[in-house]
C-alpha cells in the first residue's frame, strides 16, 4: 500500500465514520412512526443532520410523498460524490460503479413505464436532474418510447451488450422484464466485484464481504422464489442465479435448486450460512417464512454485514461502501415508515418490518413474532 493510498483510505474512513454517526438513531424511527402525516415526516427529517441539508423546501410540512421519496432516494447517491474527491482513480471507479446501480434502477423504471405504462417520467426526470445518469444517454433514455429506443440510448455504453439480446427477445417474443432486470443486477455486481478485486488486503476482503453477501442473498432468494412461487424447474431456477459466488458455491446453489420439494429446500436453506433469514420464531418445524419477513430478514443480514465492516476497524473504501449500504437501507426503512403513515397501517406491526435491528428491537418487547437471530 502506497503512502498516498494510506492517506486516501484514512480520509474516507474518517469521513464515513462521521457520516455513520449522523444516521438516524433508533429513537428517531420511533418518533417518526408516531407521526400522522407525510408532511410531518418531512418536517422531522428536515431537522435532522442526516436529511436536513437535502430537504431545502421552505415549508417541508406541505411536501407530498412523491417529492419526499424522490429527495431521500437521491441522498445516498449525493453522498457518494464527495467521497470520490478524496480517492484515486482505482477507488473512485469502485464508488462510481456503486452509484451506477442507481442508474440501472432508472433504466428498470423506464422499461417498466414502456411495458406497463406504470410510473412517472417526470419523477425520473427530477431524479436524473439531481444526479446525472452515467451508464446511458440520459435524455434519450428518458424520452424512450420503445424497448428499441432504450437499447439505442445504451449504445456505446457497457450495458448495451448485456441488454441487447434480452430486450430484442422480449420485443420479438414478448415476455416479462424479469430477465433483463436480472441481467442488469448481474452486470452491476460483477462489475463492482471485479473492480474490488484490484484492491488487496482488508479493503478487497471488505468489498467482497459486502457485495458477495449481497450476491449470495439474491441467489438464495431467487432460487427460493422460483421454486416456491413460480414453479420453475430446478434448471431454470439455477439458471437465474447471478454468476457471482461468495459463501454459496455452485454446488450449494444446485443442492437448493434440485431439492426434491419446497420443504426440503427450505430445510437446506436454513442450514446454509444465511439460514437465519429463513427461520421463524416457531423454530425449524415451521416450513415457511412470510414473504415480507423474509425480505426484511435478508436486508437485516446486509445491515449486519455492513455494520461488521465498521466494527473491524480497518480503513479503506470498503468502509465508505459499508456506510452507503447502511444509508441505502435506512432509506428503505423510511419508505416503509412513509407508507405506514400514509395509509395509517398499524404502527406496532410496522415496526416489525424495519430493517434497522436496534430500531426494531426497541419495539421488540411488544412484538409477537421475532426472528430468532435477533
Amino acid at each position: 500500500m502506497s503512502f498516498l493510498a494510506a492517506g486516501e483510505r484514512a480520509a474516507v474512513t474518517a469521513k464515513a465514520r462521521v457520516y455513520r454517526g449522523r444516521l438516524l438513531a433508533p429513537s428517531d424511527y420511533l418518533r417518526l412512526l408516531e407521526l400522522e402525516t407525510v408532511g410531518e415526516i418531512a418536517a422531522y427529517l428536515a431537522k435532522t443532520e442526516a436529511y436536513g441539508p437535502y430537504i431545502t423546501e421552505p415549508s417541508p410540512e406541505t411536501m407530498h410523498r412523491g417529492d419526499l421519496e424522490a429527495i431521500i432516494t437521491s441522498v445516498p447517491l449525493l453522498e457518494e460524490i464527495p467521497f470520490c474527491r478524496y480517492l484515486g482513480p482505482e477507488r473512485s471507479a469502485l464508488l462510481r460503479a456503486w452509484g451506477e446501480r442507481f442508474d440501472v434502477d432508472v433504466i428498470k423504471r423506464v422499461l417498466r413505464i414502456i411495458t406497463t405504462g406504470m410510473g412517472s417520467r417526470e419523477n425520473l426526470r427530477r431524479r436524473v436532474a439531481s444526479v446525472p445518469i452515467t451508464v446511458a444517454d440520459g435524455e434519450k433514455l428518458l424520452a424512450a418510447g420503445s424497448l428499441r429506443d432504450v437499447l439505442e440510448s445504451l449504445r456505446g455504453y457497457p450495458l448495451y451488450d448485456i441488454l441487447a439480446e434480452p430486450l430484442k427477445r422480449i420485443e420479438k417474443e414478448g415476455g416479462t422484464l424479469f430477465r433483463p432486470k436480472m441481467a442488469m443486477d448481474a452486470f452491476f455486481l460483477t462489475r463492482i466485484l471485479s473492480k474490488g478485486k484490484k484492491l488487496s488486503g482488508s479493503e478487497g476482503r471488505g468489498v467482497r464481504q459486502i457485495f458477495g453477501t449481497r450476491a449470495d442473498l439474491i441467489n438464495m432468494y431467487w432460487i427460493y422464489r422460483s421454486r416456491r412461487f413460480f414453479s420453475l424447474t430446478p434448471e431454470e431456477a439455477l439458471g437465474l442465479t447471478l454468476p457471482v459466488r461468495y459463501r454459496l458455491n455452485f454446488d450449494t446453489l444446485s443442492s437448493f435448486a434440485f431439492a426434491p420439494d419446497v420443504p426440503s429446500m427450505v430445510k437446506l436453506l436454513r442450514e446454509s450460512p444465511y439460514g437465519e433469514a429463513f427461520r421463524t420464531s416457531g423454530g425449524n418445524e415451521v416450513p415457511e417464512v412470510g414473504e415480507m419477513a423474509l425480505e426484511h430478514n435478508l436486508y437485516r443480514i446486509l445491515w449486519r454485514t455492513a455494520s461488521a465492516i465498521f466494527r473491524s476497524g480497518s480503513a479503506g473504501v470498503h468502509a465508505v461502501l459499508a456506510y452507503l449500504t447502511l444509508r441505502e437501507l435506512e432509506v428503505k426503512d423510511l419508505f416503509t415508515i412513509i407508507e405506514d403513515v400514509r395509509y395509517h397501517y398499524d404502527r406496532k406491526k410496522a415496526r416489525e418490518f424495519l430493517i434497522h435491528p436496534a430500531a426494531a428491537s426497541f419495539a421488540g418487547k411488544e412484538r409477537e413474532v421475532e426472528p430468532s437471530w435477533l
Binding site: E139, D161, I162, E165, P166, R169, R179, A183, A186, T190, L232, T233, E235, E236, L238, G239, L240, P243, F250, S254, F258
Partner: protein, 649 residues
C-alpha cells in the same frame, strides 16, 4: 460604481411579431429571459387576472429536431455545422415545414440503418454457420448426417463469455454437453448437445443464459455440394450490402449538404428563438415574453419593437421596483480596461450583487500597489509580465488571468525603479525613493499608512452603502459605520503620537476614544432611541462580542499591512542569498558556469515561487482586510441569450 442598471421588460403581441423580435433580441444579445411568474405579479389587471388562462411552453419543440439533425450528421460520420456559419436573419421556414423536412431525412437514415442491422444479423449467422462447418470438417463429420440424428439434439448459438461459463457450470448438473467453437470479443460460439427428450428443459436453460440460437436447419436446408464456398459468397454479398448501406448517409449528405445546412440553420434559428420563448406564456394566440435587459439598451429595444412589432406592447419596470418585489436581478459589470481586467479577481471571491458597489476599480489600483510594493524589481517584473504574455499566447494561461499577471508585472517594474532594484541588484539603477535593504523604517511606515488609508476607504464605502439602504442608525453608530471610522482614525492618531513623541498618548484623544467606544457599544440602544425599532436584534451578548471583534479587527487588519514591507524585504533578502550562493560557487573549477546556473535557477525560483507567494498575499489583503469591511457579493451574472447559447458576462 460600475454595476449596470437593469430593467424588467415584457413583450406582449402576436406570435409572428414576437418571433421576429426574439430573433432580434438574440442578435442584440442583451436579453435574459425570466419565467412568466417573475413579471406577472402586480402587472396591469387585464394581464394578471388572466394569469390562470396563460399557458406556458415547457419544452422547446426544436430541441428534438436539432437532435435528429445531429443524428443525421453523426450517422454520416461528419462534423455537425458550427452555429456561426448561419446567417442571423428571422427564421425562414415555418415550424411545420422544418419538422417535415427533418423527419423525412431522419426516416431515410433510419431505414438504411435498420436494413444494415438485418443484414448484419444475417452476416453473423453466416459466419456462425461457417464456423460450425469448419468444426464439423475438423471432426470429419458430414452436415446432413449430423443434423439428421434421431435421438440427439444439436443447438448452435452465441452467448457472452460470462454466460458461457454459467452454461458450463449448468452442464455439470444437467444432461448437456457444451463445446466452444470460437471465442472472441467477449462472446463464445458454442455447440450444445442433449437428448431430444431433454430439449424442452434445455431451452429453458438457454433462455436463462441468453443464448442466441442459430437455426442450423434453416441455414443448411437444401445445401447440396460446395456448401462452404456458397456460404462464403453469401457472406461477402452481405458485407458488400452492409458497406453500401453504411456509406449511404455520408453520400446523401455529400449530395445535399447545402440544402441540409440551410435546414439546419432554419431549425437552429427557431430553436434559439424558442429558447427565449420557453417557459414564457401564450394566451389566445398572444405571446408574452418577459426578461431582464440592461437599462441603457432599452432605447434600442424600443426602436426594434416599433419597427418589427407594430401590434406588440412593450412593458417595462425599473430594476429598483423589481427588487422591492423580492426579485433578484442579475449583475452586469461595466468597467474600463484596467478595472475590467480585475473583475476576475473580484469574481473569484464573489460577483457583486445587484445594487452593490463594484470594487473592481479599487481592486485594480490596490492590487497593482500591493503587488508592486512586495515584488518591486525591474528585471523580475519584466520576466513575470513577459512570461504571462507567452503563457497566454500558448493558451496555457487564461487570457483574463494573464492580463492580471502582466499588469502586476508592470507594477513590479515601476516599484523596481522606485527601489532601484534589477534582478535583486541594487547597484545598477539609482533608487528613486528608497531601498528595501536600507529603508526598512520608511517601508514599514508607508505600509501602515497604506493600510489605514485602505481600511478607511473600505469603511467609507460601507457607510455609503448603509446610507443608500436607508439604515441611518447603523450608518452612524455601528463599528463599521461613522462612529467606527472616527474611532479608527482617533486610535491611529493616538498610536502615531504615542510612538513618535515622548509624552505618550494625549489624554483628550483617549477620552474621545472612550466616548466613541461607548457609542459603538450602545449603538443598538441609540438606534432604537433615535430611529425607532430596527431590524431583528441580535441580542446583547452577541452584539458585545461583535463590537469587540470589529474594534480588534482594526488593529489586526492594520498590522496585516506590515506584510507589504516584510515581503519587500523578503524579496531583497532572497535576491541577496542568490548572489551570495553564486559568489560561493564562483571559486569552484568551472565556476563561471556554476555561477550562471545558480543565478538563473535562483531568479527562476524568485519569479515563480516568490511571485506566487506575493500573489497570494495580495489576494489575502484584498479579500480579508479590504473586502471584509464592506463587500458581500453573492451576485448572479447576467446571462443574456444569444445565437450561440447563454453568454456568461
Amino acid at each position: 460604481m460600475a454595476v449596470v442598471e437593469m430593467m424588467g421588460m415584457s413583450l406582449i403581441g402576436p406570435r409572428q411579431e414576437i418571433e421576429a423580435l426574439a430573433a432580434e433580441l438574440l442578435t442584440l444579445g442583451n436579453f435574459e429571459p425570466v419565467p412568466l411568474e417573475f413579471a406577472l405579479e402586480r402587472r396591469p389587471a387585464s394581464l394578471s387576472s388572466g394569469g390562470a388562462r396563460i399557458s406556458t411552453f415547457q419544452k422547446n419543440p426544436y430541441d428534438e429536431l436539432l437532435e435528429k439533425l445531429n443524428y443525421v450528421w453523426k450517422e454520416a460520420g461528419a462534423v455537425f455545422p458550427a452555429e456561426r456559419t448561419c446567417s442571423r436573419d428571422t427564421p425562414s421556414l415555418s415550424r411545420e415545414e422544418c419538422s417535415r423536412q427533418v423527419l423525412d431525412v431522419a426516416q431515410k437514415i433510419d431505414i438504411w440503418k435498420k436494413r444494415a442491422e438485418v443484414l448484419e444479423e444475417e452476416r453473423e449467422k453466416l459466419m456462425a454457420a461457417g464456423a460450425f462447418l469448419d468444426a464439423l470438417a475438423s471432426a470429419d463429420r458430414d452436415v446432413e448426417e449430423t443434423l439428421m440424428t434421431r435421438y440427439l439434439s444439436i443447438t448452435f448459438g452465441r452467448l457472452s463469455a460470462e454466460n458461457y461459463k454459467k452454461l458450463e457450470e449448468m452442464a455439470a448438473v444437467t444432461p448437456l454437453l457444451v463445446y466452444p467453437v470460437v471465442a472472441e470479443k467477449g462472446y463464445v460460439l458454442a455447440i450444445v448437445f442433449c437428448s431430444r427428450d431433454y430439449l424442452e428443459e434445455a431451452e429453458k436453460i438457454f433462455r436463462t443464459v441468453y443464448l442466441k440460437e442459430y437455426r442450423l436447419t434453416d441455414l443448411f436446408e437444401g445445401a447440396g455440394t460446395n456448401l462452404r464456398e456458397r456460404l462464403r459468397e453469401r457472406q461477402l454479398d452481405s458485407e458488400r450490402a452492409i458497406r453500401a448501406l453504411q456509406e449511404a448517409p455520408r453520400n446523401y449528405l455529400g449530395r445535399r449538404r447545402k440544402d441540409l445546412e440551410r435546414l439546419y440553420c432554419a431549425v437552429h434559428s427557431l430553436q434559439r428563438v424558442y429558447a427565449l420563448c420557453q417557459k414564457r406564456g401564450e394566451m389566445s394566440g398572444i405571446f408574452v415574453l418577459s426578461g431582464v435587459i440592461p437599462a441603457p439598451t432599452l432605447d434600442r429595444v424600443a426602436d426594434q419593437v416599433e419597427r418589427l412589432g407594430p401590434n406588440t406592447l412593450l412593458l417595462t419596470e425599473k430594476g429598483t421596483e423589481l427588487e422591492k418585489r423580492g426579485r433578484q436581478l442579475p449583475t452586469l459589470l461595466k468597467n474600463n480596461f484596467l478595472a475590467r481586467t480585475f473583475q476576475e479577481i473580484v469574481a473569484l471571491y464573489s460577483l457583486p450583487s445587484y445594487g452593490e458597489t463594484d470594487p473592481s476599480p479599487l481592486v485594480a489600483l490596490s492590487f497593482c500597489l500591493f503587488f508592486g510594493f512586495m515584488f518591486g524589481d525591474v528585471g523580475h517584473g519584466f520576466l513575470l509580465a513577459a512570461g504571462a504574455w507567452w503563457l497566454a499566447r500558448k493558451g496555457i494561461l487564461k487570457k483574463a488571468f494573464a492580463s492580471v499577471i502582466r499588469i502586476a508585472g508592470v507594477s513590479a517594474m515601476v516599484f523596481g525603479f522606485l527601489y532601484g532594484s534589477v534582478f535583486g541588484s541594487e547597484e545598477i539603477l539609482p533608487s528613486l525613493w528608497t531601498s528595501p535593504m536600507h529603508g526598512i523604517s520608511d517601508l514599514i511606515q508607508t505600509s501602515l499608512f497604506v493600510g489605514v488609508a485602505f481600511l478607511s476607504m473600505g469603511i467609507a464605502i460601507n457607510i455609503l452603502a448603509l446610507k443608500r439602504e436607508g439604515r441611518t442608525g447603523k450608518m452612524l453608530f455601528d463599528g463599521e459605520g461613522v462612529a467606527g471610522l472616527l474611532f479608527y482614525w482617533t486610535a491611529a492618531l493616538t498610536a502615531a503620537i504615542a510612538f513618535t513623541s515622548d509624552g505618550g498618548a494625549p489624554k483628550p484623544l483617549l477620552a474621545v476614544l472612550g466616548l466613541l467606544f461607548l457609542v459603538i457599544l450602545f449603538s443598538s440602544v441609540l438606534e432604537r432611541l433615535l430611529f425607532g425599532p430596527q431590524e431583528k436584534d441580535e441580542g446583547g451578548v452577541v452584539h458585545t462580542f461583535t463590537v469587540f471583534h470589529d474594534l480588534l479587527s482594526f488593529l489586526s487588519n492594520t498590522a496585516s499591512f506590515v506584510r507589504l514591507a516584510a515581503f519587500a524585504l523578503n524579496h531583497a533578502g532572497l535576491s541577496a542569498a542568490v548572489f551570495m550562493l553564486s559568489d560561493m560557487v564562483h571559486s569552484l573549477p568551472g565556476g563561471a558556469l556554476f555561477r550562471a546556473a545558480v543565478l538563473l535557477l535562483g531568479n527562476i525560483v524568485i519569479v515563480g515561487l516568490e511571485g506566487l507567494i506575493v500573489f497570494i498575499q495580495t489576494l489575502r489583503l484584498e479579500y480579508y482586510e479590504f473586502f471584509s469591511k464592506f463587500y458581500h457579493g453573492g451576485g448572479r451574472p447576467f446571462a443574456p441569450v444569444t445565437w450561440n447559447g447563454k453568454k456568461q458576462d
